[in-house]
Symmetry: C2
Subunit: 328 residues, 2 copies
């Protein structure tokens, strides 16, 4: 699988839906118009900061396997990006993050209270969008994904300082936190295009596996990246007492005398911290972690095998390579 | 209008829907089952604490003007109570409240991070419930009410220390914060019963006016109640720099040399604080505030005039008297 990861690569992958993706972006930017000055300022801040746009792109790509006018998938794309933005606003509040993608977070600039309420507002706005798809199935799955997202994050809090967490618990948690929404997006794109249930299932499972790979790589990058690359501190999960796959693999390899136990028992022990980071950054631990992501990547590709060849299918294959190969 | 306000009065008002209201309560309590230990504990805490249940009762009463099996209105009743609970969890977090109805808040017992995520979880759960009504119209209005609720609270933050706020601005803000959801609940109950559009409109506007009266009285009680009665400190709105109707009336009467200006400019000035409370607690200011609530109450009663006489209509009339007459 490839290791390309620059924004140009994503632009090329998004080619079959790029114009529509830009249109969705413009629609979202327009949300800050006709608002009170305070809300306009807040919405302007969170909506102008475009990320990778993987979720909206996925909604649009998944709608390209059955003829349709594309309008409902665009609405879905906007809805899922809004839900993602809402969850980032609350995540940054919960983590007390100062910076996201090089810019101040809502909580750091306007305070945590405003961030809580703005997240609620954007969340509710995403729900209005998804209603406009007119599909009860899609709306229901969207609400379920939102519920799983927050339950995954609550489980993360419950698992803080649990150095003993298993792979299975970790995988269940990242399914809820990330893959559930990916899953919903792929399903929604396909359902809204009017595709047959076979195609819907293929795209749902493709998206689920893609989401798992995406979160695993995100967690690997968390311990590898320098502050400049991620726009957040190195090893932020470990600092919060959260075990991710590299940490779990490190514990599996060193069941006795591993530094995670003392690190999580005795908060702030610098020597344990440094040993834990070393164990996680061990090249074979990183390699094994990427291998797990690649397994999900292969499963995602398998799900595409029954679909007709098309530029959108090619893009979805390339998206897998991008996700498991990305280094930022 | 009456001034009865004990829980027994509400029980009597809810009589036409009491069994179904209890059933909805049991359904909600069951949500904490089959969850992870952490989530079960959190949900148990927020769901066992039953409040006045005005919103779910309203959904059920509004569904009684057209023959139907009642199931969809019960789902709606559960959805709106969950949304209300989610908003209380976030409100308490934003306000840093320690206690609600005599029990520790989620933020005080488990921390603000958990409270933010639990609120999101309960919010998303309410969205799943409302999907089960099967009515896109109801789901969309529900999302809109949730959006208006958070925008009303954001406007409250934007209006902090604005001693110059007008009645119109205040009324618009409490519409968003409270009456919009009441409005949605009355509409939903009627729509889900299959009632004609005339009946739907009557019940929508009844609920909107009831919601306005409810919030105005809530704001009056905020400055009148002792800590024991409300389970929160006296004059908490004023302490947060929020102008409510009694404060606005006090400023209208004393346009010059009023203490609100210096109170909000010079945070913590005890003399201004005490003068402001005195002006707001003036019996004629309180009376005028109640009169505004009563005007909304009368409008609510007018909306019922075209509906067939029934125990549910009687209850809705009594509910108006309860809301504008309540002293706790």
């Amino acid at each position: 699988m490839g290791t390309e990861h620059s924004p140009e690569v994503l632009d090329r992958i998004y080619e079959p839906v790029r114009e529509r993706l830009d249109k969705v972006g413009d629609d979202l930017s327009a949300l800050s118009r006709n608002q009170s000055p305070f809300l306009a300022e807040l919405l302007g801040h969170v909506l102008e900061n475009k990320g990778k746009r993987i979720r909206p792109a996925l909604a649009l790509l998944a709608s390209n396997f059955h003829p349709n006018d594309g309008r409902k998938a665009e609405i879905m794309a906007a809805a899922v990006e809004l839900l993602h933005i809402a969850s980032l606003i609350h995540d940054d509040t919960v983590d007390n993050s100062e910076v996201r993608r090089g810019r101040p977070t809502v909580n750091s600039r306007w305070g945590r209270d405003t961030a809580v309420l703005l997240g609620d507002y954007v969340f509710a706005t995403s729900a209005i969008y998804v209603c406009d798809t007119g599909s009860i199935r899609v709306i229901r799955q969207f609400s379920k994904a939102a519920m799983e997202l927050s339950s995954g994050e609550l489980e993360e809090i419950a698992a803080v300082n649990n150095w003993n967490e298993t792979r299975e618990e970790y995988l269940e948690r990242i399914y809820r936190k990330t893959a559930s929404l990916f899953c919903n997006v792929g399903e929604a794109g396909a359902v809204l295009s009017g595709a047959s249930e076979d195609i819907v299932q293929s795209l749902t499972w493709y998206s689920r596996n893609l989401g798992m790979a995406f979160q695993i790589v995100d967690d690997i990058l968390d311990i590898q990246a320098t502050s400049e690359e991620m726009g957040k501190p190195v090893g932020s999960d470990l600092a919060r007492g959260i075990m991710t796959l590299p940490a779990i693999i490190a514990v599996e390899r060193h069941p006795k005398n591993n530094p995670f136990f003392s690190l999580f028992q005795d908060d702030g022990d610098e020597e344990s911290q440094s040993r834990a980071v070393d164990l996680m950054q061990d090249s074979s631990v990183i390699r094994e972690s990427y291998e797990v992501a690649e397994q999900y990547g292969r499963k995602a590709l398998d799900c595409l095998s029954g679909l007709t060849q098309s530029p959108s299918r090619d893009s979805m294959e390339d998206l897998v390579a991008y996700v498991v190969g990305r280094r930022s």
